[in-house]
Symmetry: C2
Subunit: 554 residues, 2 copies
Amino acid sequence: MTQRIDFQTDPSRYRHWRVAYDGPVATVFMDVDENGGLFDGYQLKLNSYDLGVDIELADVVQRMRFEHPEVGAVVLRSGKDRVFCAGANIRMLGGATHGHKVNFCKFTNETRNALEAAGAESGQRYICAIKGACAGGGYELALACDHIILTDDGATSVALPEVPLLAVLPGTGGLTRVTDKRKVRRDLADVFCSIEEGVKGKRAEEWRLVDEVAPNSKFEERVAARAREFAERAKPANADKGIALTPLQRAFAEDGSVRYSLVEAHIDRSKGVATIAIAGPDGKAPASIAELHAQGASAWILRLARELDDAILHLRLNEPEIGVLVFKSHGDPLEVVAHEKLVADNCKTDWLAREIQLYWKRVFKRIDLTSRSLVALIENGSCFAGLLAEIPFACDRAYMMQGAFEGDNRAAASITLTSANFGPFPMSNDLTRLQTRFLGEPDKVEEAAEAKGKTLEAAEASELGLVTFVFDEVDWDEEVRIFLEERASFSPDAMTGMEANLRFPGPETMETRIFGRLTAWQNWIFQRPNAVGENGALKRYGTGVRGDYDRRRV
Amino acid sequence: MTQRIDFQTDPSRYRHWRVAYDGPVATVFMDVDENGGLFDGYQLKLNSYDLGVDIELADVVQRMRFEHPEVGAVVLRSGKDRVFCAGANIRMLGGATHGHKVNFCKFTNETRNALEAAGAESGQRYICAIKGACAGGGYELALACDHIILTDDGATSVALPEVPLLAVLPGTGGLTRVTDKRKVRRDLADVFCSIEEGVKGKRAEEWRLVDEVAPNSKFEERVAARAREFAERAKPANADKGIALTPLQRAFAEDGSVRYSLVEAHIDRSKGVATIAIAGPDGKAPASIAELHAQGASAWILRLARELDDAILHLRLNEPEIGVLVFKSHGDPLEVVAHEKLVADNCKTDWLAREIQLYWKRVFKRIDLTSRSLVALIENGSCFAGLLAEIPFACDRAYMMQGAFEGDNRAAASITLTSANFGPFPMSNDLTRLQTRFLGEPDKVEEAAEAKGKTLEAAEASELGLVTFVFDEVDWDEEVRIFLEERASFSPDAMTGMEANLRFPGPETMETRIFGRLTAWQNWIFQRPNAVGENGALKRYGTGVRGDYDRRRV
């Protein structure tokens, strides 16, 4: 698995999905190409999926929001006759490294969250129309939809057979959505997760596993009626014409570094560090919402979000040995604030402004959830203002330059807070990053709010508790070097576990529970011989021989 | 590690702790006997601890509540000169099986929760007086106290050096209490957890790591003053004289089965099943609170709690291959209700009634948190009434007999609900077991409340959603057999992960976050070669050579 995984695609390149548009209703067909796996060694039979299939799905969901804002209801269904979806491909999982398994699950989880967010935030609600077997990751995909209709044809069932069949958990949110979203009674959930063949018909509805069961003869009619009903309820305002998400400009270097129009991720392999440099606006903010629409994907604020998102995904999947991500920025903080203001001021009335705002929310969450040490270096000439200030707040630590640096005539390092830091970009725990930061001192959030609009240099930023350390010319280079070396010397696993705990203090949500509790247990199981050992269930799958288990409980 | 671990002890046998009583103030000295380790192969230097040390601590905390209800403030301190506590013993951890590590952490977590509960529920608040190095599990013990005083002697520090030193997490609640209880700012928490030598003096207070720092010359005075102040605030009502927690009557069989006066845990090793049979009252309920006090530890309701608690701990630590616990009961449900009523009616005014009630809360939590499949068999002649009905509600599934069984003249199987099922025994998630069960149908909790006091046989219990399945004579034996065999065939690890997710739907608390998020990540790390492999940090500890890490992040 040394090829570079590419998270960019577009409909002309899809191998596994088709989308049919019919005014406010879109239908997404899952029709996986058996021979279109991302890697060799497995066939994607029965609409099973690998990361490549999910990258396309993420693209479908993303383009639906930007390119087809007129859509108010999306029907998700199978393009194959007798199967809805058999879930994640087992041979792929059996052959994958631990790191790939974990990252695969994380990305698919993020895609399912994005699908749920489309319904909750943009009124693009997903209806899952199930005909044919729907198992494991297939049912988890259904669980992420807003409404599940099951045909009662005597054969179609929903199932989570991972535990009995594979000795792993339904790890793409399945267990959590069964208990937290669908609120299935816990003992029935226990029974459901133990039945390989799943649950059919009325019982699936009684157990709250699906929203409705339709007689097979009425299934199409019912799905169409539901779609119309959902689309009518959505009534997207002024959303007649989308914008095109044109291909990103980017160039990969031999060493894995990548340069976009505004983002550069530079890899220092010997140190285990990638430095992500973010450029502020390269032009004035659009003068009006009409101009923003005209600029479309080339608008600074959207282009940056897409490039940053792609860079993070590239580093996550393709550069596992890069344990530290250093964020820097350069540009004019006032220009950042101006660009952001147009979007923030219009996000209640203009669909594109809203979608840009919501996309940034997802990008920031992607950063929060990245299992690498995150550090912001707030240097002279940087532009961590408004929404870009969320980046240091997302980091494990932020270091800031203080005072004059010889030979450096850039503007003094600063942070500028705006309304962006006080509401629109909650973390998965539903708190803002500043609320999370000041869980023990909520007054500090108020204090920060009073400093909105000010150019906060090191002393003030430190006083307000916005940065971890400030250093002057004498200490800066040395302190940063020591920190990066120290971080690189720690166990990557201990870092992952520590960061997963410290980054999400306080309240939990379904989302944090998926990435915290569920994922952590799944990752543990993904290490256990009972699943992945030579005689484990994942390895033995398809051989006709069951896993041979060490019976000791821990 | 094949010797049987015994969870019963008493002050006459303590090797590691001393307690001094002075009216409303008690002082607990940690003074670990280097040579008193539970297993061979390590010395408990520098007040480091193993499970044996923690079993004694749990006993101290438990006896404080029952035997010394007059105590309102407990000072926890070191009995050694230059060290407070160096945390869990590393050589012990390095040599322990994965299962022992996990169970050790679980028990120590439960002990720390019990210590916190003593302050919150019984007004026995713990003051941690730190003089000398306080690292890792030592600081985690401090974190579980209500108040931390640190001496400012230039040498004393608090530290969580696990990550830099051992490549594991501070796994006994440390990370969670730092963020959730003490609400340390997340970037400062990140720094703190990266510094081997810890944080001293004023900085420890500024970072919220301790409550107060006292000059070394005023330390004793400050500790004494705080203790008096806490004791005065506690003012325990009518708590002049405790009861003695006399030794349990029990007999272990060769095969690991154990018989107490009211509980019998019978092991069927070939099936991987332990059947825990609980006897209802063997006499009338005490006629008065005075009689309850006179009966003391021999009162049915307290005796049963202690025996059940001990049986669960025995099975957890000594019988790892027993994957399924089957709970049965036998006795008169009306008598259970009568015994429980005396305690419930008086728990607001009588300290002993209150302590018995609170102890049951901890016993039920111990069951919830037991990583074995839990099933209740509600048979004819059983007495799952009131508080004992919490047991089937804690189980993953409950099977109930319906109708007449040939040759069985016992009373028909029934469940009786009382106020015990609607408030006094919340789970770690702060919901009752019925609220947790009916997360998706809160009306069902109301419906169940209306059935309080009724003898609910199978049809009614099933209709109310209180049991998973009911079976009559024709199917009972076969269905139970099939279920137990099926359960035994599943991967123990998948069961552990599934149960950890399904048992705790919905809201999280600091407690569930410790057992869910933190513990799951720690367990994952406890499997990783970077920690436990031949070149891992835990194995190399003490050799002077650092761990050699696989640098791939996951």
